[in-house]
Symmetry: C2
Subunit: 335 residues, 2 copies
């Protein structure tokens, strides 16, 4: 049977276990041209909270009773498509379930000898590419500039800061614990990291950004964003790819006063990584070698068993994960 | 004597007459190389409110006791600079006073036979260029798109909407009275205008922007901006050149929730027209002929007598003017 997690009801505020339903579906039928695969890793990402709601967003909501969507790493177990062979490792979008089937047009083959296959949903997947597009294309970092990124130990933030360093910038992280801050500085090589739960944000930012902030990679919203606006430089760029602090809000919280954008001639740009698939080859070409050589580091927070996905996802929205959160749905034969 | 209006004290909230002081200074001495001129028109603009405060802004505040600054149109009455002759009409930045002197480097000569000299502080001056830079360079209008501009009957808004029409866009104004709305549609040729004081903004916007909003030229802030965010299209551009609704606020009001920027991949860009002097020749080359031919219309709200400048300026921040507000400091010999 195909073990699945389906959306049972739409959350009001913070999601609860009751919003999810564990179910068994049939193993999908393999028609001519199809590829059947077994899920190894399921990526858990903040954007999924939006898909659980029916409010207007950039993606269609998951329907009640449907399997939750999500990026996956899988092993091909049956193929009626000459491009794929059982034993191939692929990444796709099979969602919160044990098996997926498609014609394979939506799959990308992985080379397990190059990098761990799990990176395809993390540092070399959607989160890494979000960092790449937001920092490089929208932020346009110049050597000597200061880049600040929130959720700095997370899947996106960790890549933003490391790419900032590689581009000659000062990299400052914001994270939610002393452990995460230590990791961001000691392991990832950021110049500094602020603990937003204990530090007084504006003075802390002034202390670690003596030349102000040129790029703020925004993925949290709320108080952190308001503090950043107090310290941005003239011509600052603010790529905006998420507002995790607001995803569980039942009413739209108000935002910060935007006069600093005017006074500083700053630009804030919302972006969705899926609009930028044309940049995927450049991303792989530029970032994959950096991961292979160890110059870009990554940390994974792996939860075992699909049944634990709801709790892990609820924790993600509370900042409980440490590194790229994913579920090991079935054993990884490459490790 | 040189009649002057000086800054007497910094306003807390709305400026009052008491913040200004009427004074007499000496007529400035004319040294070798200098040009002395008599002020004819003084421009009154919302940005002046910022200069009255000592809060961080993009310009140095006026010091207490100093003459208020401002763009002016003047007649040269004495010249020790071969580039200028008495009787020349010029535009410069002489402020709230009857006479100004300088070496002339900061002056631009005007041709009174081409267009009224008053246009140099209005449709063909800083307000018109603000519209040009914000709409054309930052907004990048495409034929068929919908452009919304607030303060639509004002010096900047009127040009934004007319340039939008010339660029093949649908132009929708937002203004503060039925008279202003009629003017914006009937005289300036906008497709529609919403009265923000009486209309329910979101439904009104939906009604007159059936294809959504691609460009919102933001110069007011507050409730209008919040409503616009509800109706922006994917890829919307929001040039931000002012927030007049907040200029008299004693505390920074919070802003709207910015998730629509993310969901719609929208870009908001603060800009200050003085950063874009390199675009002044293009602006004059493209817009001056449109004004001369009558294709771009303009309306002036002229107040007589420098002593009436403070009351007129206070009214400007309340939206009481109708058209480009200016003070006739001395008679205009060309009219």
């Amino acid at each position: 049977m195909n073990h699945q997690i389906r959306l049972k009801s739409r959350p009001a505020g913070e999601p609860t276990a009751d919003n999810f339903e564990v179910a068994e579906g049939p193993i999908p039928e393999v028609k001519d041209g199809d590829v059947l695969r077994r899920t190894i890793y399921l990526s858990l990402d903040p954007y999924m909270r939006g898909r659980m709601s029916d409010a207007k967003s950039y993606a269609t909501p998951v329907r009640i009773g449907d399997v939750m969507g999500g990026h996956t790493v899988s092993e091909v177990i049956e193929s009626r498509n000459p491009a794929f062979t059982p034993g191939d490792f692929v990444t796709g979008y099979d969602g919160w379930q044990g098996y997926g089937v498609s014609t394979g047009d939506d799959l990308r083959k992985l080379d397990p000898t190059a990098v761990p296959i799990s990176t395809a949903i993390g540092v070399l997947g959607m989160p890494g590419m979000t960092a790449f597009v937001g920092l490089i294309d929208i932020g346009r970092p110049q050597p000597g500039e200061t880049v600040v990124v929130s959720a700095a130990s997370g899947a996106v933030g960790a890549v933003v800061g490391q790419l900032a360093k590689i581009n000659g910038c000062r990299a400052v992280g914001i994270a939610g614990s002393a452990d995460k801050c230590r990791y961001v500085v000691d392991e990832l090589g950021f110049d500094a990291c602020i603990n937003y739960k204990t530090d007084d944000l504006v003075p802390a930012l002034r202390a670690v950004c003596p030349s102000g902030v040129d790029i703020y990679f925004e993925n949290v919203g709320g108080a952190v964003f308001a503090a950043i606006l107090r310290v941005i430089n003239k011509g600052a760029r603010i790529p905006l790819c998420g507002m995790i602090s607001e995803y569980n809000a039942t009413a739209n919280p108000s935002g910060p006063n935007l006069r600093p954008l005017l006074v500083n001639r700053a630009t804030m740009t919302g972006f969705i990584v899926s609009d930028h698939v044309d940049r995927a080859p450049a991303f792989q070409r530029e970032v994959a070698p950096l991961v292979m050589s160890g110059r870009i580091k990554f940390r994974e927070d792996i939860v075992d068993g699909l049944d634990n996905a709801p709790a892990a996802f609820i924790g993600l929205l509370q900042g409980k994960n440490f590194g790229k959160l994913m579920v090991r749905v079935s054993p990884d034969p490459t490790r």
